[in-house]
């Protein structure tokens, strides 16, 4: 009995010490940033890489890295000693979950700003929660153009390119192929896209960009995570468009390519938005079948000569992803975090309104961006967002457009499956 009394007193004393500890912690100079990514669910792979990308940026910001050539790498912390602490949340790729997590991070965790959310469908409602609370929402990779068409948003910032910009670029590529390739004769267009905010926006922008230039003959939405894409590819095969635009993510992209092969059909040219085509793991897993497809790419390891600062940063990223390099989406999350940190440092303030105004008012050096800089227009879009058109050739992302940045010529048309 005496033992239990002693034990109870010891436990009480230990518990009593805890508040003192947490008080000490709260007195530390920390800036809590909440992340919202799809850490589980159908696009968990992309979400986990985005999380690793933000962690990479925070590691650079919080510690001295003289060998890394990005802003703030040469100092430890911000505003003379503040460290960034991340609080992660999982949206599961669902808008309602993402919105609830944004509310929890702001109201219960007391985060100073949010970063996320990969899925455009989640970034939309989650950023509205942040806007109401006057908290900054840094968006790396969500591509729906509508997110930055909300001109009234003062706290929302996106570093990546939008599907509107990419659609215009895709149409330019088709026009360029028509001019430069013998007998290209690209007249008709098919669009395959997942039935989500991201996919629908991409399709809408594709139709807008193609209007008056190419005839859209196949408009094929599909349910993400489907057991097969037979009807979808059969429909495309039936309409046989000359060119195909695809807004297809993750495993669905692999299934799309495999089903095209099964049905022995390919268009003359296939251009893809986002992280199905851009995912180096999918490209590797698909092997030679992935070749000759094209897409917009803001970063791939083949771009390192244009962006020498990435190499050292990527070492940290790879240590968190089991050796997988950055892709176009994940690198945007590192950029978003670094730009936010620069704005905090420059504004010398932790008032979100002041930092948001500073973000809007300046052009930020960004050695991890293709253009080398970031600046935001009203609505929060980065006006210097840039991506190149690449084509997978021999498993490598080869730059083909714009011509002045190209390192190889396109293989056109895509060779039929039985002639590869």
């Amino acid at each position: 009995m005496r033992f239990w009394i002693v034990a109870a007193v010891a436990v009480t004393l230990m518990l009593g010490a805890a508040p003192g500890q947490s008080l000490a912690q709260s007195q530390e100079k920390v800036i809590k940033i909440g992340t919202i990514f799809p850490l589980t669910g159908p696009v968990a792979l992309a979400g986990q890489r985005c999380k690793a990308a933000v962690e990479t940026a925070v590691e650079i910001i919080n510690n001295k890295h003289p060998n890394i050539k990005v802003p703030l790498a040469n100092q430890a912390g911000l505003l003379g000693g503040y460290k960034i602490v991340l609080v992660h949340a999982d949206s599961q790729g669902k808008p309602d979950v993402g919105k609830a997590e944004a509310e929890r991070l702001i109201n219960q965790e007391g985060v100073w700003a949010l970063i996320g959310a990969y899925n455009s469908s989640v970034s939309g409602p989650a950023s509205l929660v942040a806007e109401r609370a006057k908290k900054i929402f840094m968006c790396g990779a969500s591509s729906a153009a509508s997110l930055t068409q909300r001109k009234e948003m003062k706290y929302f910032f996106r570093t990546a390119s939008t599907d509107e910009i990419e659609s215009q670029e895709f149409v330019e590529v088709l026009e360029w192929l028509n001019k430069t390739q013998k007998n290209a004769n690209i007249k008709t267009l098919g669009i395959i896209y997942e039935n989500s905010v991201f996919g629908k926006n991409a399709a809408q922008q594709a139709m807008k960009a193609a209007a008056g230039k190419f005839q859209v003959v196949a408009d094929v939405p599909f349910n993400p995570g489907a057991t097969n894409l037979d009807s979808e590819i059969q429909t495309l095969k039936g309409k046989n468009p000359d060119a195909l635009f695809g807004a297809v993510l993750g495993a669905d992209y692999a299934l799309m390519v495999k089903t095209m092969k099964k049905m022995n059909w390919v268009p003359k040219v296939s251009l893809n938005y986002c992280s199905g085509y851009q995912d180096p793991v999918i490209a590797k897993q698909l092997g030679p079948d992935a070749n000759y497809f094209m897409g917009s790419t803001a970063y791939s390891p083949e771009f390192q000569s244009m962006m020498p600062a990435v190499a050292e940063v990527e070492k940290i990223f790879k240590s968190k992803t089991g050796g997988v390099p950055y892709d176009s989406d994940s690198i945007q999350e590192t950029i978003a975090m670094l730009v936010l940190a620069q704005a905090i440092e420059k504004s010398k303030s932790l008032d979100p309104t002041v930092v948001a105004e500073t973000l809007h008012a300046n052009t930020w050096p960004s050695p991890l961006s293709l253009s080398g800089k970031v600046a935001f227009v009203p609505g929060g879009q980065n006006k210097y967002a840039l991506s190149l058109i690449t084509q997978l050739q021999g498993g490598k992302y080869k730059k083909i457009f714009p011509v002045e940045k190209a390192d190889t010529k396109p293989v056109f048309p895509i060779p039929p499956w039985d002639k590869r």
Binding site: T40, A44, G47, S231, Q234, T235, K258, K262, N264
Partner: protein, 286 residues
Amino acid sequence: MDTLLQVLLDGILNGMLYALVAVGLCLIWGVMDVINFAHGEYVMISMYVTYWLGFLANVDPLVSMFAGGLFIFILGALTYQLIIKYTVGKPPLSALLATFGLAMLLKNLCLNWFTPNYRILSDTWLGDRTFQLGAIIVPVPQLVTAVLALVMIGLVFFMVRRTRFGWAVQATAMDKEAAELMGINTERIYLLVFGIGGATVGIAGGIMPTYLAVHPEVGTMFSLIAFICVAMGGFGSIPGALVAALLVGVVEALAGYYIAPVFKYVAVFGLYLALVLLRPKGIFGW
């Protein structure tokens, strides 16, 4: 005409895969009245078994699918022994919630162990082979899956209808207490039924990496469709599950091509709803 035949063939081949996934669920549901929410996760785990055997030991899915079947047989038996056993005689909701919890556990364990990476097995024996039948393209991996489904469903049906073990299973399904009075060890029957149900879905999952990427979410949609097939076919009716799965596959393909691809699951779930309203016990239910 060629397009219609192609669409029908694709629908039938997909339907046969759904049937192979559904038959195990049907057996468990029919005998034990337990809805196994972890059925899709069984598919996913079996796919991982085959993938890793292929990736690490170069074993083709045509061989390793049996290892997948054995693995899920053991997993199914363990599910019964460690979870379901304690829910027998309790409200049906307890088994349902327990298997839902198991599904979450298995999915997140795989997410943790294997990461969400998509994994594709290349250079398999069946590969992406196809052959032409006139203007129709016949995909060999899906055709082999369909034949396998027929064999497996036939074997399960034969076992239930023509063997002493099957009669014991039927007796247990009809009246557990009466079966026990006749000397049938119903505990053992339940254990084996869960194991055999798992083995069939294990074999289905085992062959799927031949043409599908493996990742922790891959089983979700298959699981949902399997539930629909079993409910439409009539709870516990193996021929019913087969017919319903074929119907689902064909309706999905026809609606997907002739109405709109995005409409294919709408048509499937609409058909399910209509059938449940018109004949709540399913096509072959009694």
